[in-house]
């Protein structure tokens, strides 16, 4: 079957009531979460994961991506209207978005951001649609050494891009990988770190850890913070029309942001956040009036907001083709798919092609839904931003508690979530990145399998990796990157690679 026919089949599958509803609910919840300062898309995706279990893998994947995608749309609303980013990928939008708002151009900024997000989303989906199957086919020839080297490179980049101190990133990855070793090892049925307890035999479940680290720790952070009520500017539908000059100035940043974001999405780390900073810097550099940036330059709003939307789609490529989540929301998706017995990776396109193509089709529909939702309802979403956390957080706490309990009817899982939440609070307080931790947890079993299979294949002689060109190339990139970082730190040169994940979570 050719690509077009597969896509048409995908549209037929996605046009079921359940999938359309999942797409709409995911996009709506994502937009709401995006507007709410505090709770980020990862925490929400972890929170929603148990609710997707009664439905199929495709429905779950559509809903999860809808949340992530919707949060990118919604995050800009509060950045522009109240100067508070709903999530970290919208921090940059505050700079010029709020300045436009003060000049009475909030409506135009919101409309252009929504259109830019739509364009970027569409370009991102097109990129995913064409590149993912190609890479998936190429990855079919990968053996355990290639996967192991891919993971080593991922971990090196992740440690460097996620934390102000790369060692903290590396520490979190190692800790996450360790958590995944608890329980009976499927390769030799040997129980490890169970200390004779029955509950630990099956290992520590991913969901309570994710909900604790991202949900409960966020609730604790908000509970501790002092609440300041934001002032929201009223937006009417007729305010949403940008003028001809604003439209003209937005076209190229929109396209540049879309392409740039897509490729940044292929990097491990908080790709959506990184894409906005890179796009803002690029637009400022290319602008004829760089002094306008920070004073309400429309390019500084549209470029980054387009970039973060296409970055979401870019980051789906390593997840779906290699089974490697490069960002925390991707790790939640991978865990969700595994709960449905679907293993993303090169085989996805042959064993479950319907999952991929239905997902692609649903994303096209979701993108249109988000545009329709975000333009006329922008005033309503802005009002959501002023809901007091004292009202919202107790309700979310209870959904976390009952949600985690309901998956396996296990109070042990609820304890795991609370402990993970408290640990997560201190980790974030001390600026340890938690996304590498959760990615470590979810990639742990694959890493161990690849390592052991590689060692057995090479009969313990690791130098044989030099006979596999791709593995050697990946390892070389990892070593060169590390050498560059070490050389830069010895020469006292600052390497500004790190972008705080904070509320990307």
């Amino acid at each position: 079957m050719d690509g077009l026919q597969l896509l048409l089949n995908g549209f037929v599958n996605s046009l079921t009531l359940v999938n359309l509803l999942a797409c709409f609910v995911g996009a709506l919840i994502g937009t709401v979460v995006g507007t709410l300062p505090g709770l980020g898309p990862t925490a929400t995706m972890a929170l929603l994961l148990p609710f997707t279990l009664p439905y199929g893998a495709t429905t779950g994947l559509i809903m999860m991506t809808g949340v992530w995608y919707g949060a990118m749309y919604g995050g800009s609303t509060t950045s522009i209207l109240v100067n508070i980013p709903g999530e970290a990928a919208s921090v940059v939008t505050c700079l010029d978005g709020y300045a436009m708002c003060r000049r009475g151009r909030a409506g135009a900024a919101l409309a252009l951001v929504a259109i830019g997000s739509f364009v970027a989303g569409t370009i991102g989906i097109l990129g995913l649609q064409f590149f993912a199957p190609m890479l998936g086919n190429a990855a079919l020839s990968f053996g355990p050494p290639e996967f192991l080297c891919f993971m080593i490179l991922t971990f090196v980049l992740l440690a460097n891009l996620s934390a102000d101190q790369p060692l903290k990133g590396a520490l979190m990855i190692a800790a996450g990988l360790f958590i995944s070793t608890v329980g009976i090892n499927p390769m030799d049925s040997y129980p490890r770190f169970t200390f004779g307890t029955e509950q630990l035999m099956l290992g520590i479940d991913f969901l309570p850890i994710a909900m604790g680290l991202f949900g409960i720790s966020e609730i604790l952070f908000i509970a501790v913070d002092k609440y300041v009520k934001p002032q929201v500017q009223k937006i009417r539908l007729r305010d949403l029309y940008p003028n001809r000059q604003e439209i003209g100035r937005s076209v190229m940043p929109m396209l540049r942001g879309s392409f740039l974001g897509f490729f940044v999405g292929l990097l491990p780390g908080p790709c959506t956040v990184i894409s906005t900073f890179v796009s803002y810097a690029l637009e400022k550099k290319m602008s004829k009036n760089p002094d306008e940036f920070g004073q309400g330059a429309v390019e500084g709003v549209v470029g980054p907001e387009s970039a973060n939307n296409s970055a979401v789609m870019g980051s789906m490529i390593p997840l779906l083709t290699l089974g490697l989540p490069f960002a925390a929301p991707g790790a939640i998706m991978l865990a969700g798919l595994r709960m449905h017995n679907v293993e993303p990776g090169p085989m996805l396109f042959t064993t479950h092609p319907e999952v991929f193509w239905t997902f692609i089709a649903a994303m096209y529909l979701g993108n249109i839904m988000l545009l329709i939702l975000n333009l006329p309802l922008v005033g309503l979403f802005a009002k959501i931003a002023v809901i007091r956390p004292q009202v919202l957080m107790p309700v979310i706490s209870l959904i976390c508690l009952v949600g985690v309990y309901s998956v396996r009817n296990s109070l042990f899982d609820v304890w795991v979530m609370i402990v993970a939440g408290v640990v997560g609070y201190f980790l974030r307080h001390w600026r340890y990145p938690i996304a590498p931790f959760i990615i470590g947890v979810v990639l742990g079993p694959t890493t161990e399998n690849s390592l052991r299979q590689t060692l057995m294949m090479f009969r313990g002689d690791v130098t044989l990796v030099s006979e596999r060109p791709l593995s050697l190339a990946l390892l070389t990139v990892a070593v060169l990157f590390l050498a560059y970082r070490i050389a830069a730190s010895f020469s006292g040169k600052k390497v500004p690679l790190f972008v705080a994940e904070d509320k990307t979570l």
Partner: protein, 152 residues
Amino acid sequence: MERAAMLRLGNFFNLFLAALGVAIVVVSVGYGFGSLARPGPGLYPVFLGSAIAVCALFVLVGDLRAGSGGHGPDRSAGFTLFAMTATFSLWILAMPLLGYVLVTLLAVFSFGKIMRLEGWRKPLALSVGTALFIYVLFDHWLYVDLPRGLLG
């Protein structure tokens, strides 16, 4: 004085992680390291334990040399943190006995007061509303079998 005490908390955390790494190595060696050609169940965790210990020690040394190391929450934040954690824990302990509806009522009321929701009416209305929402969502819609306790 308070600042010095705050600094120590972050440093102790790194020290704990370094000790945890060493403990993982010790326990893993007991599982059987095997050889590189035939890896045993302990080989992979030995690598991870070593990585945790080494990274934590480097972070600790770096923090000590820079005179930093992460401060703990202040008194008021510490109280809020403790009260929130205690409420979560009490929900888990009391749920099998009292049932999820009653503990939800109590927990939401407690969360509301800890998060400085004014008066009694608002927290009460919020707790009743949340308990009803949880009942409808999990019991009626998702058919989750939750302990009903006293209301059973």
